[in-house]
Symmetry: C2
Subunit: 133 residues, 2 copies
């Protein structure tokens, strides 16, 4: 079960201390730069698409199983499967974004709370009502 | 970037041909059986929780980059990043479920379209409005 990066984040967010906790809490626009090897997989993504990006939190601690939610020490330690903490056994992140523009292998997206350089391992469309599939 | 399974699916779904395309299209209830090593991470999950399970589609073809959406050959081949096909470079699946019951390291969940034996690599809460976080 080996993951290979398909893209990397290019962002002005370079420091964990600056990152918002979720993308809709003030995260910047960012670029997602894909590898040439996945050009065909990316071919139908277009501006306006709503996507879920799956990241690999390469700076996470995989041995952490309990955290204070949102690092708020007034909240009791909580199992990470009940939180969105990046520290978890398999440090995968889910990020819902809208595509603002496509430039060849680069996607410009809004509201991405991932740090510069973060690997992206998968991209999926947001799926709506059954009738739209 | 090596994933380790944290749980496995126990389901009556044993054959790809029987699996619905999405969990809300007639998938059965199933059990998710966690490894003892992640007991602390699971500790706060309870009946009624809405979760996103991330699976590893261990029977997927990682070399596929274009598919007919929903295997409908009347639809043009489409890049897999614009589809939910299990065949993709990193075969991760997202499954939104509700926890029906918890029995120690076992969760009973509804609407899980994953096959029996599928590895689960992460579990996250569905996050709602900013005010609820």
């Amino acid at each position: 079960m080996q993951l290979h990066p398909v893209a990397r984040v290019e962002s002005s967010l370079r420091d964990l201390a600056d990152a918002p906790r979720q993308g809709d809490e003030g995260a910047p626009d960012a670029w997602v730069v894909f590898d040439e090897s996945v050009r065909a997989a990316l071919a139908d993504v277009k501006a306006g698409d709503e996507l879920i990006l799956i990241t690999w939190f390469d700076r996470a601690d995989r041995d952490v199983q309990k955290v204070h939610p949102r690092s708020d020490t007034s909240r009791p330690p909580t199992g990470v499967f009940s939180t969105r903490s990046p520290d978890r056994p398999n440090p995968l992140g889910l990020h819902r974004v809208t595509v603002l523009a496509v430039d060849d292998l680069r996607l410009h997206v809004n509201n991405l709370e991932a740090l510069d350089g973060t690997p992206i391992v998968d991209v999926k469309p947001v799926i709506g009502d059954i009738s739209d599939r």
